[in-house]
Symmetry: C2
Subunit: 182 residues, 2 copies
């Protein structure tokens, strides 16, 4: 029943080596050398140094046409050439969560072009969103990105574009973790 929930575990072992951890805004998390991603059982664990749980859910903002474009073009995780990854946990502030659905959608897409910007970098940059706010985590979302080394510059562009949006003014905590596959 919980095969859509995953533990992202930072510690001393894992299939991904952490090459950089940067606190963009808010409190940092403990430095770790490796990351592993495993199916979660929803119980809190203290395995290794830290664990952030994230779950795969339905789309919250994408409209029909956008969803169809995304499905047509997006890449799955695990492509052999994608040896680079990024894990970006963020938390938005209470002002964001107190907005109604249409207000959040307007900021998210009409003003910040979150989906359009993501589409520009598909299929080179594969991404997967995990939700964690509703299960009591310190972050609201984890986004996991995978890409080949030759797309590193494109990835930096994508991250910079998103951080420069009105939507990002609501981000009160963000950690940027970069990884390479072992």
């Amino acid at each position: 029943m919980t095969d859509h929930i995953f533990d992202f575990i930072g510690g001393n072992a894992g299939e991904w080596k952490i090459v950089k951890m940067e606190t963009v805004i808010g409190d940092p998390i403990q430095d770790a050398s490796y990351l592993k991603i495993v199916n979660s059982n929803l119980q809190k664990t203290n395995e290794d140094l830290w664990t952030i749980k994230g779950l795969v859910s339905n789309v919250r903002y994408a409209e029909k046409e956008e969803k169809e474009k995304l499905l047509a073009i997006q890449a799955g995780l695990g492509r052999p050439a994608d040896t680079c990854a990024a894990l970006i946990p963020i938390r938005k502030n209470e002002a964001w969560w107190n907005l109604a659905q249409d207000e959040r959608r307007k900021i998210f897409e009409n003003k910040s072009h979150h989906i359009q910007t993501g589409l520009k970098y598909l299929p080179a940059i594969a991404r997967k969103l995990y939700h964690c706010r509703d299960i009591g985590e310190a972050f609201d979302f984890l986004t996991w990105f995978e890409y080949a080394p030759e797309h590193s510059n494109a990835f930096e562009e994508l991250v910079a574009a998103l951080r420069n949006t009105e939507e990002w003014k609501y981000v009160q905590r963000e950690i940027d973790i970069r990884l390479v596959r072992l």
Copy 2:
């Protein structure tokens, strides 16, 4: 961190006496005599006969004006005169969850008037929505209603109106549990 997650526990003890349990569509759940509602720790329990976990989250469909109307008029739970309650767990089918946000909103409000219908019965019928799909429960939502006995007919009208909507065609499982406060 999980004070927004609750266990709805059916069994042989609790502050609410179950007076009727009806399976509207789909599989039934085990008959129970009492219900208690307690803060959850997110671990699966087998306390009493059954437990359904539900969490309080942000609004998913209400727009600014609707949200303001709801906030202005809605009543809190626990009014002394509200000795009647209903717990209605539902599950929607995969076709619903595969729809984009704008498609779900159109069915939910433009065609089914879910928010407008709820507003008509406020503040007499207090209601609170709990989400459970994302945490691996057998249901997607629990709605909890509280009202005074003199509003029983109004409550039946509200439930009948919602069940008669296009939105409800996506409901594949629904249990209707009625309770009185001890």
